[in-house]
């Protein structure tokens, strides 16, 4: 009897976890602030979840003169809306800069690369550090799951002719969730080249 009660308890907790995950995401999508971002996609596959489009943004690589950033640090990117209604990078830092006309997006510094410049030619060519650094930023909104066929199609579209954007929702503390990927303004699932 004891084991039966324990079994029922565990199954209930498993179902509650799933319901909780769904409920939490539905709440985020309805309560957080919606914004639209321009994207550049690449196309890999995820274990257990299938094909997805890997999205990169303007803020996926940031340049800075400060050499104090380290991999693993949290970073906040400030985004402001441009005339076309897309949200663009307006600054970044270690804390969220809350302004009425901007949103903060939380990310993580994945890698820090010193920028280099070619010096000389041919056999005398070498590389000199410029004193600037590139920060590779990882955010929560980089994976868009789609069917295999569509993922491949979207990935092979020429960037200059097929503009892509995503609708994202952002919380006050900078956390974000992906809502929808668009190709030329059409939802990616309905788009045919």
């Amino acid at each position: 009897m004891r084991w039966q009660r324990l079994f029922l308890c565990i199954v209930t907790l498993q179902l509650l976890l799933l319901v909780g995950l769904v409920g939490l995401q539905q709440y985020r999508l309805s309560a957080w602030r919606p914004i639209r971002l321009r994207v550049e996609p690449v196309d890999p596959a995820a274990l257990f979840r299938g094909r997805y489009v890997h999205l990169t943004y303007e803020f996926s690589r940031l340049r800075t003169a400060s050499g104090e950033w380290e991999a693993g640090e949290n970073i906040y990117v400030r985004l402001a809306r441009d005339r076309r209604g897309l949200w663009r990078v307006a600054g970044f830092g270690r804390e969220c800069d809350r302004r009425a006309d901007a949103v903060c997006l939380q990310g993580r510094v994945k890698h820090v690369y010193p920028e280099t410049q070619e010096v000389g030619q041919g056999r005398q060519m070498s590389f000199r550090q410029t004193g600037r650094f590139t920060l590779v930023i990882q955010t929560e909104i980089e994976s868009y799951f789609i069917s295999e066929r569509q993922a491949h199609e979207i990935e092979s579209l020429p960037r200059d002719r097929y503009a892509m954007a995503v609708d994202v929702v952002v919380a006050n503390d900078g956390r974000a969730a992906l809502k929808q990927l668009y190709v030329r303004g059409i939802p990616a699932e309905e788009f045919t080249p």
């Binding site: 039966q4 079994f7 799933l18």
Partner: protein, 391 residues
């Protein structure tokens, strides 16, 4: 009425009593041959076959469910996919519950349904992550899978569910810290040690011999595999070059400290006073943590490190073989022999591939493996005959 777990414990205790001279072999046989005990201790072949087919069936359906989710058919609405997964979970568990705890108990069939339910639960987590576009590097779902299935394995006394649960834990350890490259091997080493310590707790405190075997097998397999990897020059240097994040170092350190404490406790605690073989094993296993600890401290491996890891690997294989003989468990014996052969094969390739003509390399290698295999097979049969003779 006695259940299978209690009788497994009784069998292990009776063997100990016989070894200590408290009961004679005839008395030991008499105790274990009491009416009803034999049926529970020896699963009839027909029941084993039913269980095997049920578990295979559960595995195939579960694999189909995962493939269905990963193909991401947009023609089926997300709500319909979620409903299908929830129905599979509830249906599988309900059917398993009725078969196991109902009036006509069919534990073999029930095992397959519990296994399917556990896989469907994991599928549900990944389906939610897919629908809401969680980051592809989100590995917490695998941890949720582990945390949900581990207590289930105990509640329904299911070895397949325990295998699945521990498998997800091992997978989570390997994938959670992707940024650290191959350093997850150090994590696996600590995890392997903890699993081996947990096996003793199951054997002596929880009287769950069947689970104890799984913990020990997985744990020793992980420890041996990671030590074997660290014996390769290229891998050791690559591990030293990999950058460990602070989070990884903290997690790994905590795991290795826990492992160290567990081994020291088991080596000196009064629990293990009657098990000298286990005490010796856990004392020796403290050495197995050394290569991982050195790599975490930023040590640059050279020839001394490689010689040390090869000697350690040899000691671990020999130790496991001797331990298997001491506790009369064939599985440990076979595992030790397999890894010993793997070590010999790897070192032979490493050292002679470049220096011998190809034909001689394969001839000598083949002769060496044949002789070694013949010798080990003779020893293995001798030891197994000793176990079976005493049983």
């Amino acid at each position: 009425m006695a259940n299978r777990q209690t009788l497994e414990w009784l069998r292990a205790e009776v063997q100990l009593w016989q070894k200590e001279g408290l009961v004679s072999p005839a008395q030991a046989q008499g105790i274990l041959a009491r009416p009803g005990y034999g049926e529970l201790l020896t699963e009839p072949p027909s029941r084993r076959l039913t269980k095997l087919f049920a578990i295979l069936g559960g595995l195939l359906v579960g694999a189909g469910l995962i493939l269905f989710i990963s193909s991401n058919w947009r023609a089926i609405p997300n709500a319909a996919k979620l409903t299908l997964v929830f129905e599979t979970i509830i249906g599988a568990y309900f059917t398993g519950y009725r078969l196991r705890f109902g009036s006509s108990s069919r534990p073999g069939l029930a095992a397959g349904f519990f296994f399917l339910g556990a896989i469907a639960y994991g599928s549900g987590i990944f389906l939610v992550a897919q629908i809401y576009n969680f980051h592809a590097d989100w590995r917490t779902g695998i941890l949720y899978w582990f945390l949900g299935t581990l207590p289930l394995a105990y509640a329904v006394d299911s070895r397949p569910v325990l295998w699945l649960s521990l498998g997800t834990l091992i997978l989570w350890c390997a994938t959670q810290f992707e940024d650290t490259g191959g350093l997850f091997l150090v994590l696996w080493q600590g995890l392997g040690g903890l699993l081996m310590a947990a096996s003793y707790v199951h054997l002596r405190r929880l009287q769950h011999r069947r689970f104890a075997l799984i913990y020990f097998g997985l744990g020793s397999g992980l420890v041996l595999f990671t030590t074997l990897m660290m014996t390769f020059d290229g891998i050791a240097r690559s591990l030293a070059a990999d950058r460990a994040t602070n989070e990884f170092v903290a997690f790994c350190t905590a795991l290795l400290v826990l492992c160290f404490v567990a081994f020291v406790s088991l080596s000196v605690s009064p629990w293990s006073a009657g098990d000298p073989a286990y005490r010796r094993l856990y004392t020796v296993l403290l050495l197995a943590l050394a290569p991982g600890i050195l790599l975490l401290t930023g040590y640059k491996p050279g020839n001394a490190y490689l010689i040390g890891t090869n000697l350690l690997m040899f000691a671990e294989c020999s130790g496991l073989i001797l331990f298997g003989v001491a506790v009369r468990t064939k599985a440990y014996l076979h595992l030790g022999i397999c890894f010993f052969l793997a070590l010999v094969a790897c070192r032979y390739f490493d050292n002679f591939w470049e220096y011998l003509p190809r034909s001689l390399f394969f001839v000598f290698g083949g002769v060496l493996m044949l002789l070694l295999g013949w010798f080990l097979e003779i020893k293995r049969r001798h030891w197994v005959a000793e176990f079976e003779g005493e049983e």
